[in-house]
């Protein structure tokens, strides 16, 4: 009798295309354990994410954004011949370069620290105008955050705060410009020249509040002073006035 009955019970895995996850949809108590709907949403989201990431990588690959001298795609056979990579530099060398740049400009002081491993973190103080936190990866500049002179750059435990943005709109704008600058100055074989050019560009901000815009002649545009500095001539422009 039992055998006859057991043959009547169909095998669920044959009829359900979703296998185990499909069984979740049979749960009658939907509001307390909405697992199936959450599962569906997670699946749709990850599919969309994959699609968008594919589109983004297609767009980004059109422009070569490599700043280091490493060559990808070199076959494993040639790599052991050790093309000198600028990604692996001894920390002492980085320290020396930064110290030399520190002495270059009197109104700019640079403090170097390594709280998280080997990547250097610089605290650049420009006169009494602003402070810049620069996070580096060997001798390449990775990120910058620009804050006002009176703003706190340390977290509660005394470490350098590399994440929080400035409270002032003008310095948020300058942070965006600095990020543009660090992408602009690129020279894969000579990263110390890059750092020097970046610091020279940054130094032009000593007159952030004093210089009028070279294009419109005024100080303020939408409440902001000229925050853009041209990469070649270091002239001051409003963000909306630059070409």
């Amino acid at each position: 009798e039992l055998e006859r009955l057991s043959n009547l019970v169909g095998k669920p895995s044959e009829n359900h295309p979703l296998h185990n996850s499909g069984l979740l949809s049979l749960d009658p108590v939907q509001d307390k354990t909405p697992l199936y709907s959450q599962l569906l949403q997670a699946y749709k989201w990850s599919n969309k994410l994959q699609y968008h990431a594919g589109l983004a990588s297609g767009l980004l690959n059109q422009q070569s954004l490599k700043r280091s001298a490493n060559q990808m795609g070199v076959s494993a056979k040639r790599r052991p011949k050790a093309q000198p990579t600028t990604l692996v530099l001894p920390p002492q060398y980085v320290d020396d370069v930064i110290n030399r740049i520190d002495r270059m400009f009197p109104e700019m002081s640079i403090q170097l620290s390594r709280p998280n491993g080997t990547s250097a973190m610089l605290l650049v103080t420009l006169g009494k105008v602003l402070k810049v936190i620069v996070v580096m990866r060997s001798l390449f500049i990775d990120r910058t955050i620009v804050k006002g002179y009176n703003e706190n750059v340390y977290t509660e435990d005394g470490k350098l705060d590399i994440w929080s943005k400035s409270n002032y709109q003008v310095f948020q704008k300058v942070t965006d410009h600095a990020t543009t600058a660090l992408l602009h100055y690129q020279l894969p074989q000579m990263p110390d020249v890059v750092v020097r050019s970046f610091m020279t560009w940054l130094r032009s901000y000593i007159k952030l509040f004093q210089a009028p815009c070279q294009r419109c002649g005024k100080f303020l545009q939408e409440g902001l002073p000229p925050t853009w500095r041209d990469f070649r001539t270091l002239e001051a422009f409003h963000d909306t006035c630059r070409q």
Binding site: K128, G148, Y149, Q169, F219, L220, G223, L224, P225
Partner: protein, 156 residues
């Protein structure tokens, strides 16, 4: 004896925990709110001058990185004038951004834009502090006290 000097005790709602005590051309003391109580205890040494409390009350506006406070100056029950305070928050060196401030003020005050405050010329390149704001308010209030009952706009 010595001729008495005037000392002003001032409060600013922007710095609610502080009390400022300043002499006309002298130093400015920044103390915490208990200073008022201390002054009551020191009643024997100080004479409360006949003049009267003067205050400015109004609205506080924020535009981009600027802070604008517009208030009515009252002495006792009568209104004596209007005060406008403009602060550019990101800059800590006063002399650096004077031109910028002036351009901003001209955009809404036109011909009423004041000249450069006297504290700026003494500051040179030192950092601006709340005490400097209080000195400017003190000068403004004194100017208003000297004027008679006719209400005139006093702008700082």
């Amino acid at each position: 004896g010595q001729t008495g000097k005037l000392m002003y005790v001032m409060h600013n709602s922007e710095y609610p925990l502080s009390c400022f005590a300043l002499f006309e051309s002298g130093p400015c003391l920044v103390a915490d709110a208990n200073f008022d109580i201390l002054m009551v205890k020191l009643k024997g040494f100080f004479q409360n001058a006949k003049a009267n409390k003067i205050e400015s009350r109004g609205t506080r506006y924020q535009y981009c990185d600027f802070l604008v406070k517009v208030g009515t100056v009252t002495m006792g029950p009568s209104a004596r004038g209007i005060s406008v305070e403009v602060e550019y928050c990101p800059c800590v060196i006063a002399n650096d951004c004077w031109n910028l401030l002036m351009e901003f003020m001209q955009s809404f005050m036109g011909s009423h834009t004041p000249g450069i405050p006297s504290v700026f010329s003494t500051k040179h390149d030192s950092i601006y502090s709340p005490a400097d704001t209080m000195v400017q308010y003190m000068e403004l209030f004194n100017k208003i006290r000297k004027q008679q009952q006719v209400p005139v706009a006093g702008i700082r």
